[in-house]
């Protein structure tokens, strides 16, 4: 078996490879999205911490 034959998938290349490509996208997406979400959550909490610190300072100043 050679590579071009392999990629041709017996004439079904479009179907087979687009299936695998989509599967790849879904899997990578399922890894990347949660990691991005994690970044966002952490950034948000950091912002909240900073805001609370400011509020705290203000209330002491008063």
């Amino acid at each position: 078996m050679n590579w071009s034959e392999f990629f041709a998938m017996g004439g079904y290349a479009v179907y087979v490879w687009s299936s695998y490509a989509l599967a790849f996208v879904v899997i990578v997406g399922n890894v990347v999205l949660p990691l991005m979400q994690r970044k966002k959550v952490i950034a948000r909490i950091k912002r909240a911490i900073r805001r609370d610190a400011i509020l705290h300072d203000n209330s002491i100043a008063r």
């Binding site: 004439g11 299936s19 879904v26 949660p34 994690r38 959550v41 909490i45 950091k46």
Partner: protein
Amino acid sequence: MWHWIQRFSSPKHFYVISAKLIPWFAVPTALLMIVGLYQGLFVAPPDYQQGESYRIMFVHVPAAWMSLFIYVVMAVSAGIGLIWQIKLADMVAVASAPIGASFTFLALVTGSLWGKPMWGTYWVWDARLTSELILLFLYFGYMALQSAIEDQRTADKASGLLAIVGVVNIPIIHYSVVWWNTLHQGATVTKFAKPSIDIHMLIPLLLMALAFQLFYFAVILVRTRNEVLYRERNRRWVRELIEQL
């Protein structure tokens, strides 16, 4: 036992433990996937009827199985959250939905990509295909309800109830090929008797299925951890943890 459940289901404890668990799922997932792909693409022989096109099976069938499995996990944990008020269970349910929806989508698309060469059409309105489409909508409905209700507690309980009600659809999907005569393949792997499939095809299929399963466990841990962080954002331990980052 109860004590142990209580302890493990405390979000903080979960957060600590899960960090250690993730690699134990992630690494085997990668390995199994590589081996499974190799076996599926290079070792398994062409099908005498379908030629090479059947190789879509190695993504289609695991994705389809996962779409059902994840829904059940989601409904069960939503039920646990609803009845025993365990917050972590709600979080698992919430985190499961997008993963499940993506696998359902994958099963649908790969299925129809397989259908074109096999049945001559991308889509037919038969029971299994339709009920899988409905499953996608059930996931969407769950996510939509979850995001539509502002109050987190209310959202969890309401969407949890919906997930439980929607579980009736699962047996319908699974047995659709039995109850209605459809174009779609009947049970070939999951039959109790000897599976009617060549062993060289079966092995990569099972490998891929296991890989998908472990993949789900790894991702659900990551997603649930995000959920924990977000929901406990006002707790001291989260604040301290984040400040150290």
